[in-house]
């Protein structure tokens, strides 16, 4: 058993619901040791799960008030609480595929992490491109996934590269000096704001946000059990509910966001 499998689930013509497909289709070429599948059909990747030592499934998630573009790590236990087994082909989703894979290749679920990407409420679907919040989130989602799986990856630098690009794109032509960039990061990411600021300052050179101070606030993430509803605070992703052992979801999405940019009116 070897290698890592990344399965990005989504239909490329389905607006924000394509985000899993996009994360896989735009997977960075410098990421080594990954087999990457972008597909609209989760069942199609089941055979690929047989020999992968680590599996990450990326799919769009919705319905819990998560901030659009946020990352929601679904722990393996959630699979048992998702989806219906006896229904039409329209229900052959990620949970169904993982259940089938677990039967065929015992141990698959323990080797799998599901990276949910939160959609905006009422996300547009057929025939549209990703909305801005999701388009900017894609490279960061990729970094967070690689951070989980690739030891020694300079993830802070990759994240700040993405933030510099997003912030630079937001600064209007003719704006004065950018003074400050504010961002937030979930405490579960366990990132040091000072380290992020150092990388940001270095990477911002020569860009519209050159010289700006990066302020990163750490957001506390709470957890809710999908079985008993218990809520609690934890700064590391829990595997199960401490009350009943059920699977849990974060009450707000993990990840990192650009919140505010402050610039001088005159150049």
């Amino acid at each position: 058993m070897n290698g890592r499998l990344l399965a990005g689930i989504g239909h490329p013509g389905a607006g924000d619901d394509a985000v899993g497909w996009v994360v896989a289709a735009r997977w960075p070429t410098e990421a080594r040791g990954w087999t990457v599948r972008a597909t609209a059909d989760p069942v199609a990747v089941v055979p690929d799960m047989a020999t992968a030592a680590r599996i990450v499934v990326v799919d769009a998630v919705t319905g819990h008030g998560w901030r659009p573009g946020g990352l929601v790590w679904l722990r393996p236990g959630i699979v048992a609480d998702l989806g219906a087994a006896r229904a039409s082909t329209h229900d052959f989703g990620v949970a169904w595929a993982l259940r089938l894979a677990e039967i065929l290749y015992p141990g698959v679920i323990a080797r799998t992490r599901i990276a949910g990407v939160a959609l905006p409420p009422g996300a547009a679907s057929v025939g549209t491109a990703l909305s801005a919040s999701l388009a900017w989130a894609v490279p960061r989602i990729q970094v967070f996934i690689r951070r989980q799986e690739e030891a020694g990856l300079m993830h802070e630098r990759l994240l700040m590269q993405s933030l510099v690009e997003e912030a630079s794109a937001q600064v209007p032509a003719g704006a004065g000096r950018v003074r400050r960039v504010r961002a937030t990061v979930a405490d579960t990411e366990q990132m040091d704001p000072a380290t992020l600021a150092l990388h940001f300052a270095d990477l911002a050179r020569g860009t519209p946000v050159d010289g700006a101070v990066l302020e990163v606030a750490v957001r506390a993430v709470a957890w809710r059990c999908v079985r008993c509803g218990h809520e609690w605070q934890a700064d590391a992703p829990p595997d199960a509910c401490p009350e009943c052992g059920g699977a849990c979801l974060p009450t707000e999405a993990e990840g990192l966001w650009l919140e505010e940019i402050e610039w001088d009116a005159d150049s």
Binding site: H11, P12, G13, T39, A40, D41, V43, A44, V46, P47, A50, A85, R86, A87, S88, T89, H90, F92, W96, R99, L100, I103, L104, V126
Partner: protein, 431 residues
Amino acid sequence: MADTTRVIRVHALARVEGEGGLRLRMRGDTVTEAALDIYEPPRFFEGFLVGRGYEEVPDVTARICGICPVAYQISSVRAMERLLGITVDPNVERLRAMLYYGEWIESHALHVFLLHAPDFLGYEDALTMAKRYPDQVEGGLRLKKFGNTVMRVIGGREVHPINIRVGGVHRAPEPEELAPLADALPEALGIAETAVRWVSRFSFPPYDGDYQYMAVDSADYPLVGDGVATNRGLKVGVDGFEEVVEERQVPHSTALHAEIRGEGPYLTGPLARYNLGRARLAPRARALADEIGLPHPLGNPFQSIVVRCLEMVHALESLKVLLAAYRRPDAPFAAVPLKAGRGAGVSEAPRGVLYHRYEIDGSGRILSARIVPPTAQNQAQIERDVVRFAPQLVELPQDEMSWRLEQLVRSYDPCISCSAHFLKVSWDRET
């Protein structure tokens, strides 16, 4: 039992494509009412094609179905090419046929291994069946993966491919780009052959539908052609299809019912293709049919699972021949000389005959569109079969009777999403 009224309602059919149910009322041993309720919302595709350009038909109609999009692409471009008098390069035809066979394989593998086989082995679903038959289910997934790979390599995507256009394809691959398909083909063929023998040993409820079969009229095993034929001697060119086939609305379904005018329901799909085209199966598939002693003619719809497996063997053998013969064409598509007119096209979707007809003006704008999918054509026949089959089940407990009837309906592999496409809906339902 003689005076007892039994009502069987399967509110949501499991293991079918799309959303539908089944309603049956019996008095004694006689079925007084049978209805395949198709309540999937109407799709309106024919309506919103009007006013669009002729070139949009393959990509718009592909969205009717995520399982058989190539069928919609092929029938639609064949209709337009017939209308415009376009001759397609033989190597482009080979590419299209390979893509189509990829779809047959992924669609049939899905139905055989994940939807239909659990019926014969007494399992609720493929998940529970996989615990006892992991090798078969894994084989099915590998077959499906092969079909998906054909779709991706030739069509550009596994679901809703993007390479088909009026006049040809957008891009014709170099033969070496298709080499991975040739490399993976022997394993897939081995799995499909094993599957034929496996399903042929299932126990099939005795039933003979005494069907009128309809399939695309072709010198080869039915795939594409310029008309349709039946086992009762009817042959009609594609331009005469609507004179022969009549569609009508029924209150309980968002799909139209189709009948042969003056003759009633008919059946299209694997059984029809097998009965009309058995002699033209690829050699290995034909030898396997002999080996397992598959009757011909074959009138038992439950045995369609065997035919689907044979058709996967046929598709893989055909792919092998097509791959060997393929040369990159000088141009991926022919010039499109626009003119006003009306044209129709047919091809064999995994579930049977798929008919498209378009009328366009001189600038290529679509004035009218008509699509007759196979499940809509089969719906009246399915209801007739339920009426005829149910009396065999009257001694069974209600749950088992429901399950047996569902099994019958699943034999036709109904694609309900495809069939729900008409415009007016009126409901008349029992309370």
